[in-house]
Amino acid sequence: MNLTIIILILIFSLSCFFFGKTKVSNKIKISRGKLNSLPKYYGYYLAAWCGLPALLILILWTFSELYFVKFIILSDFKADPTIDENKLNLIFTEIVSIAEKKFSGQIPQNLIPYAERFLSLKYIFELSKLAVIFSTILFSIFFSYEQILKNIKAKESVEKIIKSVMFCCAAIAIFTTFGIVLSLLFESIKFFTVVPIFDFLSGTNWSPGRAFIRDASTEIADVENVFGAVPLFWGTFFIAAIAMCVAIPIGLFSGIYMAEYASRKVRKIVKPLIEVLAGIPTVVYGFFAALTVGPFFRTLGEIIGLEVSSESALAAGIVMGVMIIPYVSSLTDDVINAVPLSLREGSFSLGATKSETTKKVILPAALPGIVGAILLAVSRAVGETMIVVMAAGLGASLTINPLEASTTITTQIVTILVGEQSFDDPKTQAAFALGITLFFFTLIINIIALQTVKKFREQYE
């Protein structure tokens, strides 16, 4: 349906373009004797006015249609004080699935009229969508045609339109951030009305599965005690720390070697090769960690008499560290290359060896940049999902033993939200609360990291 409308709009726009380019510009030429823009700009002007408003309306309409349908259908239920918002959502989902004949199980008889109403409403909305869009097209063509005949400067107007379209594209970045923050906040606030934010941030027991127990007497008590996120924060930090123990030394030394020692030829081969590590999908690392590294540590542990669980923080952390190596090494390499040559030459002329120069002159000079690189890598490690989901385990515990299973924020988000979920469940909302914690945490690290790198760049450029 929408595709047909889009194609129709495009056909209209195209014909407007040719109409404007030939007929309209000719007409103006005859009436005024001279054009103030090239003929094609008249075409662009008409085509833009024909297509853009219609497309905008189409997008807005499509996205808001169901919202209004829902509002109309549910207005009957709103009078009933026993039905709260969550229940309303549930009823609406049922009505939709009955209407689309996807409802499984016994169909509630009282909802059938609503399902029929839903279908007829949808039909009406589709028809009115068509009507509105095509009247918009006609109206805007008429309007722009009138404007053109008034000797409007077509080129300037077209350029203005192009610029504003570009601005809208750039502004999508802002909308995305807003969308993320609002959607996460919206669900998190619902969650924090059930579970106090302090309990969430300082509780040490995480077992959301128990929130399902819907016994009237224990429900509230349970919900209060099962959403303590400290074990998740600890697990996230712990695994990220193991990863950094691998990534920082290897990445740092690789970066230093590539920047200071390696010949141009070696560098040209080695740098892309290491960067391949960052290009491999994380799910591949997860598979490797779960199927090869985990069992490897397990057998290794058996040989030396240690008990290693097959899903361990160590396996996940080490594999994650390998993934992060290129983030550290490439940025270190860039940062060291940005340090001016004069510093090196000064040090060499005093008789320092290359390693002494690197350690005592270059690294201190490049330190802010390197710290920035490491911080960016930390934020990668914290937000990494697939490796920990597949290799780190699910049990939330406050352990400092890297050989035991450990769980992270991202793992819990995935575990909670995999499969069907209902939005009125505190468990689902807890996932969003975890999401917003993760978002802000990584955001803060990123801002600090980007600022330090930027400051460093400004210092030497």
Binding site: M166, S183, V276, T353, I447
Partner: protein, 423 residues
């Protein structure tokens, strides 16, 4: 300080120098070693999935047992039962088998075998009432055994096939009745609960559709946004906010975009769950900043003299950018876009959250059909207990890596071919 002490000091300094250099080489070799182990591991365990083991069986297409004749229309043949002739042929493998073992004999081949017979017959209707040798897919346990992925010398109760099945299998093998052939069905079939039938057809198409949606949305928007930010944006607060947003969004964990998709696209706009449409939308939002940043770099790399030349000839700013700068920057922006898309292709977590982990056993055709994607297929199969899925997972990873290598090398090719040095 005498000369001896000096010499010792020098030696110390030189050995420190050597140590430092060695650490560098050691780290780089370690990183590359990891890469090699990873790839070697995946390739060795995955290559066998591209072949499948088949058993050559003498099948008697008996008219009476099939209940069909030469004139039976195709629909009736599709509805008829080929199980009986298959079972007869299998039981013929060991005529002395006791009744209890008969079911094990029948389990030697895959449950798809009757359909294979049906497909064969539909193409060779002249074989009615003849005895024909046909190769049929083996069950995945024996398939794994034949490929050497499963040890045969462990106790019977710890493997999924019995001693009796093993004996029959060895007999057939010694008569050269076991063959391997290229596993075309792996590329055609959708997911299945049976490892020998499961394929990546559905997830391949699903990935293609998802990336297509992502490309259609993210490239034009990202490119236009980059042009605006690089060429037209006035230096003011709004521009600054947009730039900060773009840079931060590029570093937001991908799972957060999944939450956005779930909370907004699915919960609020009621877009269809588990579809490439929503997957593409989410990935487009995620890829957008990763496209804007290289596109800006490509635009920046175009020499100012091009702009100035165009402006000097009387072009307006928009004309100068659109007619002169953009065509020169296009190859650079394309390679940036391809790299952004290759990251999107390997992305798993956000797609899991919008429900693309569902078990999909039909190949999708439109972006609004529920479907799986390659990386999620890897995740799904790796969680599954059956031994046969391990090689399938690795094979899927090989295909995924193949596409990534293809995309990245085309990006590098584009960059090298069209890279211009402005002097």
């Amino acid at each position: 300080m005498n000369s001896k002490q000096k010499e010792i000091l020098m030696r110390k300094r030189y050995s420190a120098e050597k140590r430092f250099k060695f650490f560098g080489i050691f780290s780089i070799s370690l990183a590359i070693l990891f890469l090699c182990i990873l790839l070697f591991n995946i390739f060795t365990s995955g290559l066998s999935a591209f072949f499948k083991t088949k058993l050559i069986l003498k099948i008697n297409f008996d008219e009476k047992k099939l209940g069909i004749n030469m004139n039976t229309p195709d629909e009736a043949i599709k509805a008829s039962n080929f199980n009986e002739i298959l079972q007869d042929a299998l039981l013929n493998l060991d005529l002395l088998a006791p009744d209890l073992k008969k079911i094990e004999l029948i389990d030697i081949v895959s449950i798809d075998a009757t359909y294979e017979l049906k497909r064969f017959y539909l193409q060779n209707k002249d074989q009615l009432n003849k005895i024909v040798e046909i190769s049929l897919t083996l069950s995945d346990d024996l398939d794994q055994l034949y490929k050497g992925n499963f040890p045969r010398d462990i106790p019977e109760d710890r493997r999924r096939f019995s001693d009796f099945q093993l004996k029959v299998f060895d007999e057939q093998n010694s008569q050269n009745k076991i063959i391997t052939e290229f596993n075309f069905s792996f590329f055609k079939n959708a997911d299945s609960r049976e490892p020998e039938l499961a394929g990546i057809g559905a997830s391949l198409i699903g990935s293609l559709l998802t990336i297509l949606v992502c490309l259609i949305l993210s490239f034009p928007i990202g490119f236009l946004a980059a042009i605006y930010l690089e060429e037209f944006a006035p230096k003011n607060k709004i521009t600054e906010i947009i730039e900060i947003n773009v840079n931060n969004l590029a570093a937001v964990p991908s799972i957060v975009f999944g939450l956005l998709g779930l909370g907004v696209f699915l919960n609020y706009f009621y877009l269809p769950r588990s579809t490439p449409l929503v997957g593409g939308l989410v990935l487009a939002l995620m890829t957008l900043p990763r496209i804007i940043i290289p596109c800006r770099a490509a635009l920046k790399a175009v020499s100012p003299s091009i702009r100035e030349g165009a402006l000097a000839l009387g072009a307006s700013k928009v004309q100068a950018v659109m007619h002169n700068v953009v065509p020169l920057a296009l190859p650079g922006t394309l390679s940036g876009t391809i790299i952004g898309l290759s990251q999107a292709l390997g992305e798993t977590a956000p797609l899991i959250l919008i429900g693309m982990v569902a078990f999909i056993n039909v190949v999708p055709t439109y972006p609004i059909d529920p479907s799986a994607v390659l990386p999620v297929q890897v995740y799904l199969w790796s969680e599954s207990a059956e031994r046969g899925f391990v090689e399938k997972t690795s094979a899927t990873i090989i295909i995924l890596i193949f596409f990534l290598v293809l995309m990245n090398s085309s990006a590098i090719y584009l960059r090298n071919k069209f890279e211009k040095k402005w002097s």
